[in-house]
Amino acid sequence: MSTMPSPPEEELASVVVVDYGLGNLRSVTRGLERAGAAVEIADDPEAFEAADGVVLPGVGAFREGVENADSIREDLAAIAERGQPLFGICLGMQMLLTSSEEGETDGDAAVEGLDLIPGTNVRFDSGQKVPHMGWNELAVEREHPLVEGIDGQYAYFVHSYYAVPDAANATVASTDYEQEFPSIIANEDGTVFGTQFHPEKSGETGLRILRNFVDICAED
């Protein structure tokens, strides 16, 4: 294995990491910095609008994540409407969908996702070891600037639910855990996307993805 890329000489794009009170933002911030971003951790709409791109991180449960982000729901939707790059990671990716089996899907207790990529999150079959934890392979299914140079590489996953987008072409990359599931997804115009795995914990492959993201932000 080769050494980690050193940080670029100058900052290539500005990125906001959304702080909605969940999880440790340190690794994702350091990873983005290593990839050449100037990172701000923020929760206000002005900061989102001023940035070249926005990252929605997250670990934990769907209901808690969606409830914590409820006050900025419209602001996150506005990012997508403006066509600014919006990158969900792990739970942050799951929140981009419409619903999850992890929360209730109908009735008064229904937990609504952001619905920026129509679809739902479902649980792995019983009988499988859950969580799916460890390094697994990425098979690129279609072109997207985020997946440049990563086909066949390994990424680090920790999750019990996975995304099932309504549109077949929303799957950018898939991964095999006794069944194929979408491990990178994107919306129709490609500006809203997410990874089920943690790029900030996926070594060189993860840094490559973060660098691809920074390049996407720099172009817009």
């Binding site: 294995m1 350091r30 969580p131 934890m133 460890g134 920790v158 993860g206």
Partner: protein
């Protein structure tokens, strides 16, 4: 396909000048100095380690501060998962450790003394970051609940404290089931009998735990070479193999172990 993980373990203590240093030992004793933790983490990362485990063996407030500083420095440099253990007794300890940059915490005694800590940690930070570690020791008496045959003798495994110096009467297999039901996301299985011996992992122990739970299991203690990793993956179905001294003393690189496994069709990240 999900790969088997190879995890170097780094025991961190303070040297004579109060600086962090890596030590390795036999049967949890006779520690030998082997190097600087941050440099070691970087080198392991480059040789293909899938994660790291850092154990704070200083057991002092001063050591704890130093450890958190080491964790931050490693987390800022190396972008793979990092588990930190040693002296974690409260949710505040968990929070502090995660905030310093650890992805998971490994808890041993803290969970045996107050099992609710597992529930509290899983609720507050998610199961994915709660690793419960056991220091198992073979017992040939009749006090256990789950017995296996080893060389014609009937044996159970007891959870010990203080690196094997104190028994608890708790059966490892029962404890594994209990911590899983309380929300543990992963189990880290050490063997006091095999620690530092290089005779191979305790296969009956690892198998018994893997069969009892659906949670991922990290096998630890006794690894003397790639053949032992192969054995614990194929005979006990462990999800990850942890080793310390074979890597510290450059007997094998992580890459050597992975090549050996790959040649024998065990899936690894290359």
């Amino acid at each position: 396909m999900l790969t088997k993980r190879i995890i170097p373990c780094i025991d961190v203590d303070l040297d004579e000048d109060g600086n962090p240093a890596v030590y390795t030992g036999v049967h949890f004793e006779d520690l030998k100095y082997t190097g600087d933790p941050v440099e070691m983490a970087k080198a392991y990362n480059e040789s293909g380690a899938d994660e790291f485990v850092f154990l704070d063996i200083t057991a002092s407030a001063e050591g704890r501060e130093t450890m958190l500083d080491v964790v931050s420095r490693v987390a800022d440099e190396v972008f793979i998962p990092l588990t930190v253990g040693g002296g974690i007794r409260t949710t505040e300890d968990i929070k502090e450790t995660l905030r310093a940059g650890a992805d998971k915490v490994s808890i041993t005694t803290g969970a045996l003394e107050r099992p609710e800590l597992v529930n509290e940690g899983a609720r507050a930070f998610g199961s994915q970051c709660i690793v419960i570690s056991v220091d198992a020791q073979r017992r040939y008496d009749e006090a256990g609940e789950n017995y296996v045959e080893i060389d014609g003798e009937s044996c159970w495994f007891e959870c010990t404290k203080k690196g094997g110096r104190e028994g608890t009467g708790v059966d490892v297999v029962e404890w594994a089931r209990e911590v899983e039901s309380r929300g543990a996301g992963e189990l880290f299985v050490n063997s006091i009998d095999r620690d530092g011996t290089k005779d191979g992992y305790d296969i009956p122990l690892t198998s018994a735990v893997c069969e009892a739970v659906d949670t991922p299991v990290i096998a630890s203690s006794g690894c003397g070479g790639p053949e032992h990793m192969h054995e614990v993956f194929t005979e006990a179905d462990a999800d990850a193999g942890l080793a310390a001294s074979i890597f510290h003393f450059d007997e094998y690189s992580v890459g050597d172990v992975k090549d050996y496994l790959d040649e024998r069709d065990v899936p690894v990240r290359q």
